[in-house]
């Protein structure tokens, strides 16, 4: 190269090299991607709107908000402080302080993190005056839930801090924010929370805020949450909780004409206020770890029991629809039903009709096992193969919303179980099963499992004579209609005409002197119902009752389930009828019965069981 050319060559060379470097930095390399850049230059602050209130169907306030105060820390701004005083104000130990401080530093020295959560108003008042002494700490106001009525925690649910998995799923949330994690708080989260307002603030490199970013063109205002009215009748709900005191179980009451859930009781219950404030996680752990009485388990929605006798209503309807029986078909019962040749192939019956012919009406009010076993067998055998018969039976059951999720606005639920042909083919692979193999299904035992809400829905369907509205918990959301799927009736596969004779039978359960609930009759109210006793291989039988009233134009359909409550009319029957009375008349005409239920306890039964379990384990 000639000497004069060297510098020109270098100039062009460096020029090209720098342009390549710039191309790499600005166009190719993504490691300097924009979000993190923005994070340091632009601070995002949120303006949290007030969460919507929750009312019951009559406008009684169930969930409100209260202010709480979080102590926030920005570690790099912390100056030496009197830790003894600070700790005593916050009611924490010095070890806590060191632990929390280290954690905050570990998270970020620049970004604020929560130091102490949800101080009470009193603690806040003391602290506020001295806050100026503690540089790097500040108080952030937050809105917390408050429950004026200590009732229905399983329905209302609670809010808690989002975890990282939720943040990944929904980028709306930031670490430390609150989200509804159970009950209505969860299913109606989007309506209740509103939309947070965002402010972008330009910062300089000292982290000092120097004004709104781009004059605030990206800022948004907070939109407050919507208030929600539930279908719950608070008085009925509280009454149900009181009746179920010291008993484990669930009550589901539905308004048949709308599918609105009037009461959803699960006991043992707890004070919803336990799920609020600084003690929340402690209380939650306590409730969560109670594996014996399982207070967080919603027995109305999640508990799957064999339904027992109330399921005979369905067997009757299916048999009528399949023309397997008519209302005059009669069966003779000799204390049971022999369904096979073996010595043990005998289903006992306590109907007490020994030998006299039993027709549908009597079969229902006497709850005759033999009759329904017979009817069930006829359904299955009407079809060419047991497989087809089973599937036909299953299809009818599913049209009642049994054996599947109800797809409603409750945050939890269980499918229950209604077996079909395939189910038994799996258990008997060579197809060697017949109607008699599955005969227990006829009386709600065997493989059949339902949840109390499914049973309540079955009752409501019968009350409506053939259709139901999906049971739901929300009545009104401010400024928004509830989902259309709750206002469209779901028709069953059973014709309307077949319901009347069955309902007459259910009416006679109370009205006929020999009816299984005749002594639970309530003057002035025409109640239709069915007792149930579900055999429980793990201990004392469960007490079950379903009912609706009045007979014509029903206002309430109810299912009551009392764990280990012996038999249907012992606990569940009185509770169901008291609930109906309370709802329709506002008070009971049978104070002695009310008294007995309010004070009755099955705790001894539960203790006995627990003792047996521990003995076995030992």
């Amino acid at each position: 190269m000639k000497r004069p050319g060297l510098l020109s060559f270098l100039i062009i060379f460096i020029g090209i090299a720098y342009i390549i470097r710039l191309f790499y930095l600005q166009v190719i390399d993504n490691s300097y991607n924009i979000p993190t850049l923005n994070n340091s230059a632009v601070k995002i602050t949120y303006d949290y709107p007030e969460r919507g209130y929750i009312y019951d169907r009559n406008g009684i306030l169930l969930v409100a908000n209260q202010l709480s105060y979080d102590i926030m820390i920005i570690p790099r701004e912390v100056k030496p402080l009197d830790t003894v005083e600070f700790c005593s104000l916050l009611k924490i130990t010095k070890e806590d302080f060191i632990k929390k401080y280290t954690k905050a530093v570990h998270y970020s020295t620049r970004i604020p993190s929560t130091f102490v959560q949800q101080l009470s108003k009193n603690d806040f008042a003391f602290l506020q005056e001295k806050m100026h002494k503690f540089r790097g700490f500040y108080i952030q106001k937050r809105s917390l839930r408050q429950y004026p009525i200590k009732s229905a925690p399983n329905v209302l649910g609670y809010i808690s801090e989002v975890n990282e998995r939720m943040i990944e799923k929904n980028p709306y949330y930031q670490l430390g924010e609150l989200i509804g994690t159970a009950g209505v708080e969860k299913t109606y989260e989007d309506d209740l929370r509103g939309t947070k307002g965002v402010k972008y603030i330009q910062r300089n490199r000292f982290n000092k805020e120097i004004g709104p970013y781009k004059n605030g063109i990206y800022d948004t205002l907070a939109i407050p949450g919507n208030d929600i009215s539930l279908t719950i009748d608070t008085k009925l709900q509280q009454y149900g909780e009181a009746l179920m005191a010291n008993k484990r179980g669930g009550i589901v009451a539905i308004e048949p004409s709308s599918g609105e859930i009037l009461a959803l009781v699960s006991t043992p219950t707890y004070d919803p206020n336990l799920m609020v404030g600084r003690e929340r996680s402690k209380n939650f752990t306590k409730l969560y770890l109670d594996s014996i009485s399982k207070p967080l388990f919603d027995r109305g929605l999640q508990a799957q029991y064999p339904p027992g006798s109330p399921f005979k209503i369905f067997t009757a309807l299916a048999a009528l629809q399949e023309k397997a029986i008519d209302t005059h078909t009669s069966v003779k019962c000799f204390g049971g039903y022999k369904y096979g040749s073996g010595k043990n192939a005998f289903m006992k019956c306590h109907c007490g009709t020994y030998g006299s012919p039993v027709e549908l009406n009597k079969a229902i009010y006497r709850s005759c096992n033999s009759y329904f076993a017979n009817a069930y067998k006829r359904i299955i055998e009407k079809h060419a193969t047991p497989y087809e018969g089973m599937n036909a039976w299953n299809k009818h059951a599913e049209s009642f919303g049994l054996g599947n999720y109800l797809n409603n606005d409750l945050s939890v639920g269980k499918k229950g179980l209604i077996p079909d042909g395939d189910y038994y083919n799996r258990y008997y692979p060579n197809g060697r099963w017949r109607a008699s193999t599955t005969i227990s299904n006829s009386i709600g035992q065997g493989e059949v499992l339902t949840t109390p809400i499914q049973l309540a829905n079955l009752t409501a369907t019968v009350a409506n004579r053939g259709f139901y509205f999906t049971p739901h918990i929300v009545k009104k959301i401010k400024g928004k209609e509830i989902d259309k799927k709750y206002t469209v009736p779901n028709y069953t596969t059973i014709d309307k005409k077949y319901f009347e004779p069955v309902i007459e039978g259910l009416f006679d359960v109370f009205e006929n002197p020999k009816g299984t609930a005749s002594w639970s009759r309530v003057k002035g109210i025409e109640i239709c119902g069915k007792t149930g006793t579900a055999e429980n291989p793990h201990g004392q039988d469960h007490s079950i009752f379903i009912a609706f009233a009045p007979k014509d134009n029903p206002k309430i359909a109810i299912a009551v389930f009392v764990e280990n409550g012996y038999w249907g009319s012992r606990w569940a029957g009185p509770i169901a009828t008291l609930m109906i009375e309370k709802y329709l008349n506002g008070e009971t005409s049978r104070p002695w019965e009310e008294e007995r239920m309010l004070n009755g306890s099955l705790q001894d039964e539960y203790d006995k069981q627990l003792k047996e379990i521990t003995e076995i384990e030992e």
Binding site: R3, P4, L6, L7, S8, L10, I11, I12, I14, G15, A17, Y18, I19, R21, L22, F23, L25, Q26, V27, D29, Y32, I34, L37, N38, S40, A41, V42, Q202, R203, N204, R205, I210, G211, Y213, K214
Partner: protein, 425 residues
């Protein structure tokens, strides 16, 4: 003839003048963006830096006219005197100078300060041109080499002592001039190899470098053995000698780096070589400037829209790091356009320098091309993270009156000399 001679703008290269004003204008736009604050003030406002800069730019026009008023001959005749005045002003700093940011580089005149090192470059270039254009001058002679070195040594050492080693480093630019004028090639070759070995040693450690360079020399020996046997017979001893010297150099690099350098110097190199990534303290400037440029993307965020520029994230953004503003707000398109402008500007200077009949003008022109080149290369190289942190301004862009005037003087003396090229004096 006379009327033309009286017209001070006669023979001016308007292309260079245009380049000057375009670069200064783009520079000011970015200073404005980097220093504008919430309260919108007028453009000419002494309390803001963009306002001050516009005054310096405005005052550069009388300065240019003042430069043009002197005959080209004047600059050749009084080159030595200007050089001595410049040296005196540098030396005077030790008595009268004002300490700003740890360096005594400034004379304070109340409302404004002047930095004599910015003007010393022009004086040194004039002195060098004068020396090289001497008829006795021969760079092959050791004597002459020493003379040339001394001209560079005095200002460089005075500036280093301020201490402002970055500005002193600019004087290495003259090696291009001396090479152009006949300095033997091995001076440049040796410097280049030394720099290469320096970087390799720091990156890979001296043991690896010793082994690697040994293998390289072995290859060279084999090459000569097979293809240039004649040369090999004469030169193999020389080649082994060169290797031994290199080995010694590698050892000394390691020694100097670890035992003579202070930690802050080591840090600068370590960050550049990617050996340290502590972006919070020592690498903060480089990290901030690189991320800021990278965030600009292909098209940039637009004028006054760069949140990192507006957020004041890059330290010294309006001075040494002004290129980050271009990078963020004007993106790859804008920043590469600025580089292309500089390349064209430098090539134009060289083109004009080469057409000079007077050796003095040619050497001077070549000197300023080399000086501008060094400034641009070091400054942008530092900002885009390719060179260690060396704080010297980007010509015509960086905020600061002394720097702007220094570069203006440097350029317009050359334009004045060039305007005279058709007349022999």
């Amino acid at each position: 003839m006379r009327s033309k001679k009286n017209n001070i703008f006669y023979g001016i290269d308007w292309v260079l003048v245009l380049f000057y004003f375009v670069l200064v204008f783009i520079g000011w736009i970015n200073i404005y963006s980097a220093t504008i604050t919430e309260d919108q003030l007028g453009l000419i406002n002494l309390s803001s830096e963009y306002g001050k800069q516009i005054i310096w730019i405005g005052l550069s026009i009388p300065l240019i006219i003042f430069i043009f008023m002197f005959e080209a001959k004047f600059y050749e005749k009084y080159a030595s005197i200007l050089y001595l005045i410049s040296l005196t002003s540098l030396a005077g700093l030790f008595i009268l100078g004002k300490n700003i940011n740890g360096a005594t580089s400034w004379y304070n005149f109340g409302i404004f300060s002047l930095q004599p090192s910015e003007f010393a470059k022009a004086a040194t270039a004039l002195a060098m041109a004068k020396l090289v254009s001497d008829k006795q001058f021969n760079l092959k002679k050791f004597n002459t080499q020493v003379q040339a070195l001394l001209i560079l040594f005095f200002p460089a050492i005075l500036i280093t002592l301020q201490p402002d080693p970055g500005s002193a480093l600019v004087y290495t630019a003259f090696i291009f001039v001396l090479y152009r004028e006949g300095l033997p090639a091995y001076h440049i070759t040796i410097s280049f190899i030394a720099i290469l070995l320096f970087i390799i040693t720091l990156t890979f450690g001296y043991i690896n470098t010793l082994i690697g360079s040994f293998l390289a020399f072995l290859l060279i020996l084999l090459f000569f053995n097979f293809y240039r046997k004649k040369a090999f017979k004469k030169g193999w001893l020389k080649i082994i000698g060169v290797y031994l010297v290199s080995a010694l150099f590698i050892f000394s690099v390691d020694f100097v780096f670890n035992h003579v350098f202070e930690q802050r110097h080591r840090d600068r190199f370590n960050i550049l070589l990617g050996k340290t990534s502590d972006i919070k303290s020592i690498g903060y400037n480089t990290d901030q400037s690189v991320t800021t440029i990278a965030s600009g993307g292909l098209f940039g965020k637009g004028f006054l829209e760069g949140e990192r520029t507006q957020g004041d994230f890059v330290p010294e953004q309006q001075t040494d790091y002004i290129f980050t503003t271009i990078g963020e707000e004007w993106g790859f398109i804008g920043s590469s356009l600025v580089i292309i402008l500089f390349v064209l500007f430098l090539l134009r200077i060289i083109q004009i320098a080469e057409r000079q009949k007077s050796k003095f003008s040619r050497v001077y022109g070549y000197s300023i091309a080399a000086i501008f080149f060094t400034h641009v290369t070091i400054n942008i190289g530092m900002v885009i993270g390719m060179l260690p942190t060396i704080g010297i301004p980007l010509p015509f862009f960086s905020y600061g009156g002394s720097a702007l005037w220094g570069f203006t003087v440097l350029l317009f003396i050359f334009i004045r000399l060039d305007a005279n090229r058709t007349y022999e004096w």
